[in-house]
């Protein structure tokens, strides 16, 4: 997914989203690919398998909190 599209989905600023993506890339949760379409730079982001697993774990953790289960943060 292109950076501009992701930005409109998560409604974040360029700097904010860029900062989060760098962090997520460092831990291997997203893969970032930069290229050019003609003369225009393009940044594409994809969630990795590890990223998807981590996200699902986080959602399960949030749900467990709501269910009142005894949970520990990642």
């Amino acid at each position: 997914m292109e950076f501009t599209r992701l930005k409109s989905i998560v409604q974040a600023t360029d700097g904010n989203l860029g900062g989060h993506l760098v962090t997520l890339e460092k831990v291997g949760y997203v893969a970032i690919e930069k290229d050019f379409v003609g003369k225009k730079p393009r940044t594409r982001i994809a969630m990795t398998r590890a990223g998807r697993r981590a996200f699902l774990r986080h959602v399960a953790y949030l749900r467990a909190i709501l269910d009142g289960a005894d949970v520990e943060a990642d």
Binding site: R5, S8, I9, Q11, L62, R63
Partner: protein
């Protein structure tokens, strides 16, 4: 650091809202080429109404079948449930058109065309009210174009070809930019 139930609920809400936004944008992307396709069909169909009125029924039947099949082919990347809903939506539209036709008894080609266009506009507007907001504006624009054209434009078919068909194409490009 652990989260309170309120913080967890807020985070889940935010995830769900983002998921909805993402889904909407995906559907807009899928809908864009379909709208452009129907824009072209309207231009050809209404132009043929104006130029060869005798063959209007045949031309529209062929165009509608081609359009329905092409739209299905464009959208078939979606899940099977979505495809089934697409076919069901067409069935409802055709039932309404052929059911309302004899009851309202449109006398002229223009009346039949306006009725079909208004039904399409209603379908878009309802889609927009319940789910995808941009379709509401498309539906309202189509209502305005059709009613204005029917009551005030001297050449209704050409008006619908340019303003209706062109409007659908522009609408498709607008969805693509979402």
């Amino acid at each position: 650091m652990s989260l309170s139930p309120e913080q967890a609920a807020a985070a889940l809400r935010e995830i769900e809202e983002t998921r909805q936004r993402s889904l909407e944008l995906v559907v807009y992307r899928q809908g864009a080429p379909v709208l452009v396709l129907w824009g072209v069909i309207w231009i050809v169909g209404f132009a043929s109404n104006a130029m060869w009125p005798t063959y209007a029924a045949i031309v529209w039947t062929v165009l509608t079948v081609l359009g329905a099949v092409a739209s299905w082919l464009i959208g078939r990347g979606g899940n099977p449930g979505q495809n089934l809903r697409y076919v069901a939506s067409w069935a409802v539209f055709l039932l309404l058109f052929y059911g309302a036709g004899p009851i309202l008894a449109p006398q002229t080609t223009s009346q039949r065309a306006a009725l079909a266009a208004l039904l399409v506009a209603a379908a878009y507007a309802l889609t927009g009210i319940w789910w995808l907001q941009r379709y509401l504006w498309l539906g309202l624009a189509l209502f305005a174009v059709t009613l204005f054209g029917f009551f005030f434009a001297p050449w209704f078919d050409l008006w619908m070809a340019v303003m209706g068909g062109g409007g659908l194409i522009l609408g498709g490009l607008w969805l693509r930019a979402a």
